[in-house]
Symmetry: C2
Subunit: 193 residues, 2 copies
Amino acid sequence: MGRKAQFTKNQFVDAALKLAAEQGPGAITMGSIAGQINAPIGSVYHRFASREILLAELWLRLVESFQQGFLEALDQGDGLQAALHTLNWVRKHPNEGRVLLLYRREELTSGEWPDEIKERARQLTQELDKGLRKFTRRLFGRVTKKSLIRITFTLIDVPYAAVRRHLQAGRLPPVSVDELVRKTYLAILGRYL
Amino acid sequence: MGRKAQFTKNQFVDAALKLAAEQGPGAITMGSIAGQINAPIGSVYHRFASREILLAELWLRLVESFQQGFLEALDQGDGLQAALHTLNWVRKHPNEGRVLLLYRREELTSGEWPDEIKERARQLTQELDKGLRKFTRRLFGRVTKKSLIRITFTLIDVPYAAVRRHLQAGRLPPVSVDELVRKTYLAILGRYL
DNA sequence: CCCATATTAGAATATGTATTCTAATATAAG
DNA sequence: CTTATATTAGAATACATATTCTAATATGGG
């Protein structure tokens, strides 16, 4: 049944990731994706109905990759580990890190998503929300808007801030930022440990 | 001499700012800028040699606006005030804040800049760098790479992190974030006060 | 060996938008 | 009143890139 495939979905997504990490999302065109692995443009469209969908796939992959370890740490009640996860993840996945942390979702893919993809995205968001709420309850006893902001700030926003500038400059975050994240964590949530 | 002008440079830049703040940088086209104030496209080009240059102008305006108050606080040796300046500035200038803090420079204007603009940008960067170094020396006695990272993290990156999520959601940062920035400041730099 | 079909191949088309160009218009200066 | 010119006006053009289309090609099943 049919010719043997020469290019897989993953190869195209990988190519897009590489382009985005090295030259920014603007460099991702259907032509450049194909060119990256010497595929014809037709083959890209054979795998993905549109550019939007290919990029949505890439985005989901990044979020899933990041979120897994983050939620694992959270689930074990280890908030500091969760906060440091951003740093470790970025160091282990530099390209993924650059794209997920340097660009907004809308910069990659801003059009309409098909239902299947919307559903996967919704699920990821919900998982994260659930994990954060559970951890908040564990720490504070209850979940208020303010306590959620506090937790989100400490576990997500601050690590992100600590890393962004270095990714922007094309480097990995230096070891000294770990200490900054740790200190901030203790300052904001320390008394609840 | 010549016909009386109906549209000024500033009007076009304002229009671009409004578009970016409300619909993202992608919504800034020469047509939409003109449309925003019912001007003909030709008039935009009469004021700006290119889209790039118009957007560079916008970007410089944002940075200048933000940086002024920040450097004033720094100059007075008031680091906490400098850290809180991001919050105050964003609340006072919501549109400017959204665009400066939600999008990267390259997302607005990524092409080549003429020398005059490059020079203004260089000067702004240098001013900031100088202010940060001066403050670092004042606080630590000397300026090392690590101490600069520490200062930058506390005065710029953390306030940015505290604000970003709320701007992204289309709101101004709630008052509770001030406390988070203050706590972080004290945790990281408090002992040097 | 033949067929159905998954895949490659890339040329043709569509579209959105920046930029250029030509003409019309108003105003100040003399 | 005439003229020079800054500005408006918007149509024509250029260009990049997503998408579509038609044809060729290989491969497993019968």
